[in-house]
C-alpha cells in the first residue's frame, strides 16, 4: 500500500465524515509525520492531493484549511461512471439498453486526432427519478474489449472494464456543447422540441494510451446541473 495514499484517504474520510469541518485546520505536516512515522515529503504528497482536488486550502504560516466540498453532480473535469454518479448523488435510477451492435465504424473525424476504429455500439437510456434524462451512445474499441455481455452494459461498463477486464482507465477529452433535440431525443426522452440537449462527446484512453471508447452523452438540459472546482494557474 502506498503510504501517501493511505494518509490521503484517512484525511479525506475525516473530511467527508465532517470530523474536520469547513474552516477547520488539518493536523500540521509535523504532526502527520509523527503520527504516521513517515518522511515529510510523503505527508506533503497526501496534502497536495487533497489540495489539487479542492478539499483544502493551504496557507503558509497558518495551516491547511478544510473547504466546503459538498459539491457533486455531473463532473466535467473528472471521469466518473454513471453508476458512481448515481451513488454519490443518492439518485434513484434505472437503465434501458436500446441497442447493441457489433463492428460499427467510428470515423476519425469524431476523434481527437486518432485514427478510425471498429467498435461495438451500445445505446442506453438513463431514467433518473422516473424521468428519462440521458441517452448514452458508447462506441467501445473492439481491439480492447469485444463481445461485451448485456449484463455489463446494464450494470456499469466502467466496472466491467476495470474489474473484470483489468483495464486501467486514465483520461478522457470531453467536448461540451448545447444542441437541439434530434428525433431520438424526442422519442426516448419524451420531451418537447424546444428542450435543449447538453451534449458531451468524449474520447476515453487507457494508461497505455490506447483508445478505449468514444461516447456521446445527451442530457436533457433542463435537468442538467454541474458543480466544478476550478483553480487559478500561475
Amino acid at each position: 500500500m502506498k503510504k501517501y495514499l493511505q494518509i490521503y484517504r484517512d484525511l479525506l474520510s475525516d473530511i467527508q465524515s465532517k470530523k474536520y469541518q469547513e474552516g477547520d485546520l488539518l493536523p500540521s505536516d509535523t504532526k502527520l509525520v509523527m503520527q504516521y512515522t513517515v518522511s515529510r515529503e510523503t505527508v506533503r504528497r497526501a496534502i497536495k492531493l487533497l489540495f489539487d482536488e479542492g478539499y483544502i486550502q493551504t496557507i503558509r504560516g497558518k495551516g491547511s484549511i478544510v473547504l466546503n466540498s459538498d459539491r457533486v453532480t455531473f463532473p466535467f473535469s473528472r471521469i466518473e461512471s454513471y453508476k458512481e454518479l448515481v451513488a454519490n448523488n443518492h439518485l434513484y435510477s434505472e437503465n434501458d439498453i436500446l441497442q447493441m451492435t457489433d463492428h460499427v465504424d467510428v470515423p476519425a473525424n469524431l476523434l481527437f486526432g486518432a485514427p478510425a476504429l471498429k467498435a461495438q455500439r451500445i445505446v442506453r437510456r438513463r431514467v433518473v427519478n422516473q424521468v428519462p434524462t440521458i441517452i448514452d451512445y458508447d462506441y467501445i474499441n473492439e481491439e480492447v474489449a469485444a463481445n461485451i455481455p448485456k449484463q455489463a452494459a446494464l450494470n456499469s461498463l466502467f466496472y466491467y472494464f476495470e474489474h473484470d477486464l483489468g483495464l486501467k482507465i486514465n483520461y478522457a477529452i470531453k467536448h461540451i456543447t448545447v444542441e437541439s433535440a434530434d428525433y431520438d431525443d424526442l422519442k426516448y426522452l419524451d420531451i418537447d422540441k424546444h428542450v435543449p440537449i447538453l451534449v458531451v462527446r468524449s474520447e476515453t484512453r487507457l494508461s497505455d494510451n490506447r483508445i478505449l471508447s468514444y461516447t456521446e452523452s445527451r442530457h436533457r438540459a433542463d435537468k442538467f446541473s454541474s458543480v466544478e472546482f476550478a483553480r487559478r494557474h500561475e
Copy 2:
C-alpha cells in the same frame, strides 16, 4: 525563481511550439537532472505538473509521451479571464460596459456557504466576432476591492486584481446550468427566445480564502463550446 516551474515552463513551451510533437517522448528524468543540475524530485515536480494538466502521459519503464493538447475554448476546470480566453483562442472581441453600481447586496443564498456581502456590480457584454455572445454580471466584494476604475472593467478585471492590486486569485466554485433567455438576454444578445443560455455562476476566492467576487456569466448556448481534459481517479 522556482526551479521546478522553470523546467515546467521550458518543457511546456517546447510542447506548444511543437518541438515535441504528439507521441514524442520527453527527455527522461535522468537527462533532465543532468541538464538542469537539480535533484530528481525537482524534475519530477515539473513532470507531475505537465501530467496533471493533461499535456503528457507518463508510462513506467517507457517515458513521458506528449499528448495532443490543441484544446482550448471556454474552460470549466480552470480560472481563466475573458481576456486570456480571447487571446488563447485568437478571437476578435469587443466589450461593452452596461452598468456599474456601488454597494449592492449579494445575498448568502447565492454563495456556497459564505455570508452575504456588499459588492460593486459590473455588467458587461462580450461581442465575439461581431456577435453579442456573453453577458457577465460581476459582483466584486467591496472589502477586497472598491471603486474599480471603468478602464479596468473595459480591459480585464483579473488583470487589474492581480497586477494593479496584487491580489492572489486561487480558486472558484462554478455552478453550470442551461436556462431560458431572460428579458436582458433577449435585449442585449439580440436572440430569439428559443435560444438557450448556458449559465455559469461562480464564487471566486483569494489565497487567504477571502471572497473576491460572485459572477454570473450568461452565454448564448448555440455559440458555446468547451473542451475539457478529465482524469480518472483511483
